[in-house]
């Protein structure tokens, strides 16, 4: 558990410092403008890709819930308020206070509702709590917002894969795992 939380903290610290500079996505035209070209990608540093996708045994011990924290690319840098709340969420998670961590993440979501990292983090929290449906839905929500951020999307697919596996959907899990791998290549 402790190891897990240390890994999490390191991963988050990495992901936040590795944030791409703010790349504003031009508002999509309502009427008469061309659709925006996808914003340029930021290469994900190799060390952030280190954690292999988790192997999931049928009855999940805590270790299997370790989903790698994806690097944040392409997304606007979170403001200091959200960074502080993410920190608080980490500390709560590290001390096993998951609902407190969730409360901090929800505070952050009220400030930056469109930040896919926050939805992803909430999804991981629910995965740890074995709320599989919520984990899947939150990862899907994050994916819907994480346009062009392959690393984050891969992380979301890994959450989905782990949750599907846990509810006995082996085929679905395999598909999700493949999506994740495809995005990481």
């Amino acid at each position: 558990m402790r190891q897990w939380s240390r890994g999490l903290t390191v991963a988050i610290a990495g992901s936040l410092t590795a944030c791409a500079p703010f790349l504003p996505q031009p508002p999509v035209p309502v009427e008469d403008r061309e659709a925006p070209a996808p914003p340029p990608r930021v290469e994900v540093p190799a060390e952030l890709e280190r954690i292999p996708p988790p192997a999931v045994p049928p009855e999940p011990p805590p270790a299997r819930q370790e989903v790698p924290e994806p690097a944040v690319a392409d997304q606007p840098v979170p403001g200091p308020a959200v960074v502080a709340l993410l920190d608080a969420a980490d500390q709560y998670s590290a001390s096993g206070q998951r609902e407190q961590a969730a409360a901090s993440l929800e505070r952050a979501l009220r400030i930056e509702p469109g930040n896919p990292v926050l939805w992803h983090r909430l999804g991981r929290l629910r995965l740890q709590e074995r709320q599989w449906d919520q984990a899947i839905a939150l990862a899907e929500k994050s994916n819907a917002l994480a346009r062009g951020d392959k690393a984050l999307q891969a992380g979301n697919w890994e959450i989905i894969a782990a949750a599907r596996e846990a509810i006995g959907d082996a085929t679905g899990a395999l598909q999700a795992r493949k999506r994740a791998q495809g995005l990481r290549e």
Binding site: Q25, P27, V28, P29, V30, E31, D32, R33, E34, A35, G79, P80, A81, V83, A84, L85, A88, Y92, Q97, E99, Q100, A102, A103, S104, E106, R107, L109, R110, I111, P113, G114, L122, D133, Q134, A137, L138, E140, K141, A144, R147
Partner: protein
Amino acid sequence: MPSRPNRKRGKKRSRRRAVTPAGLWLFQLVLIVLFCGATYVIWLDHLIRTEFEGKRWSLPARVYARPLELYSALNIHPGDLIHELELLGYQREREVDGPGEYALAGDTLYLYSRTFEFWDGREMSRKVRLDFAGDRVTGLADAATGKPVPVMRLDPLLIGKIHPEHREDRVLVSFEDIPPALIDALIAVEDRNFFGHSGIDPRGILRAMWINLREGDVVQGGSTLTQQLVKNFFLNRDRTLWRKFNEIIMSVLLEWHYPKREILTAYINEVYLGQHGALAVHGFGTAAEFYFARPLNELRTDQLACLVGLVKGASFYNPRRHPERALQRRNLVLAQMRKLGYLDASEAGKASSAPLGIAHSPGWSSAKYPDFIDLVRRQLQQDYRPEDLRSEGLRIFTTLDPYIQDVADAAVSRVLAGLEKNRGMPGNTLQVSAVVTNVATGEILALIGGRGNGIAGFNRALDARRPIGSLIKPVVYLTALSQPDKYNVHSLLRDEPVTVRQPDGKTWIPKNYDNTAHGQVPLHTALEQSYNLATINLGMKVGVPRVIRTLRQLGVHREVEDYPSLLLGAIDLTPFEVAQLYQTLAGNGFTVSLRAIREVLDKKGRPLKRFAIRIRQSLDSRAVFITNFLMTRVVSNGTARILAARFPELMPVAGKTGTTNDLRDSWFAGFGDNVLAVTWIGRDDNKPAGLTGAAGALQVWAEIMRILKPAPLSLAAPENVAWIKMINGRRSTDDCPAAIAFPYIQPYLPEGEAWCERAPVLPGRPVPAIPPWSL
């Protein structure tokens, strides 16, 4: 066997006969009296101990609004922040040196926040400076060190209490939180010898008599604080000697069992200090909130003295009703404190010259947010027994944003008064309802259940089921767009007369609002202009059961009948249910349950229950996105285009008007990226209100959003949605100036060669001030 007792009796009798002094009778009598007396005292002792130890004051549940989060980059007008601070009872000072104070210097606001116990821990009191540039916080830093503070919370506004049966209001204070000056003042006027006596104070009675004689007024009572506490415990107020006797015995017993500080704390929480409507105000904590709208530990000496003055007669010295008397009494308390050396001359002088400083209204009022509190109560009843709600001192943290609620309340009054005036209706003809939510979290930010003058307690937002009219149309179009191989934004629909046979055998001939059939129209135009015939034809083709399934996925759980008239909104929903439906649209197909409560804590601040975000992907994001895009065109080009014309700065937003038969119900539902609102105007007697969606409910919506200025809809397309430039229903070249980009689901893109023409012929373009076909 029987002979022995006889013998004994005989002996006894003979002995008694032998020695029969009256003394023995007396002795026996004394014994009996002593025995009875002792039993009685033991009984009293039991009574007082049970009362004192078992004293679990029933505490009302306290209901809080959302706490205001402060951080750099927050959009808030300084005036709105100050308004919030004033609601919270913060005092404006020149220099900020204690919790609950603020000061304004140019574009900088200094603020000393209060410590508050939240679900996720304690938010510590801190002194900060906020720098503003216009309506934006540009810096938030510790006032002393200048170190940036990333984020902090103000204490939340108390918006209501759920009270116990016996109608007491109480805010418990622990000994540590009692201001020393309060104890000084109490001792000075009520019980000078409190720390010396053992429950009763004969010298105190004599002194009180003497002082009262000398002052010619009842300055001091003879009862000790302990006696007063006992008196309060046993509410019997008759002034008999017997009661006095009991009181004395119990006071002595109480003192014998418990230390002074416990007795004092109990006294401070128990004493009766006023009446708030039907509610008795008990204890100094409650009184501080009631008279000064601030916590007890923030009161100044003069304010504490004012409260202590109330002990003698809460009604006679009521500072709201009899400010003169209250002031006199307060200064008497201060003088007494000065005499006993609790205050020096300058302190006493300063305190005596201060105004009473009573808050206009109590620190909270259930009357201010009745509709929202009603919703909270209903959601709580699913998890808590009514008696726990009323007595366990639960702390309920809700989602209400008091600022948004105030804005919505004001908007409703302005718009409705204006509508009634312009249309020559008698005042208060129209009724109204509104639900404002946070798109991402599903939190209810504000709720309006009606205007004050209607049926009392009728919460229209939750209970008034009305046909939703054209608010159903996006559901029909979404159902079609969910089959991208069959439908896209430019699919041609037949806006032609149709006769529908309902399952009950009746035929139904729907019409367009302008009584005109428009022939073949593109799908986007049909929704923008809310054409009934095109919608019916589309819906019949797609299939009503399929539309019902979409409705379910959007979060409508009511029984829906499989009638074609459903396609034009023949379904009765409450504004709350409509908000849930549109919430899923605004969430691009993700349903979040609407919530009014975030967390529940027990009276000690320990977390009990949290209502977390619960989310579900119910629909294909791409089809929902395209539907939302079409709803932005309802606002820019369609039945709600008055909105874009009047408030271009708010665009784009997605919205839909709704009007029902004979103009009975006027609806509008609309959202940007973060805020969604559903508004309704109609009449309680269900007579025609005479308003289309655009002419009525839209006005309320616009008036709310004009002030809130929510973030527009970002319209960031999901993956696999392509923007294709179109002109007159055909694919255009990329540089074609008059072409418009429309979203398409891949791979179902429009075919044909790209072309361009100069003047596009767009249907439905004429612009009357208020569109006549806003069904």
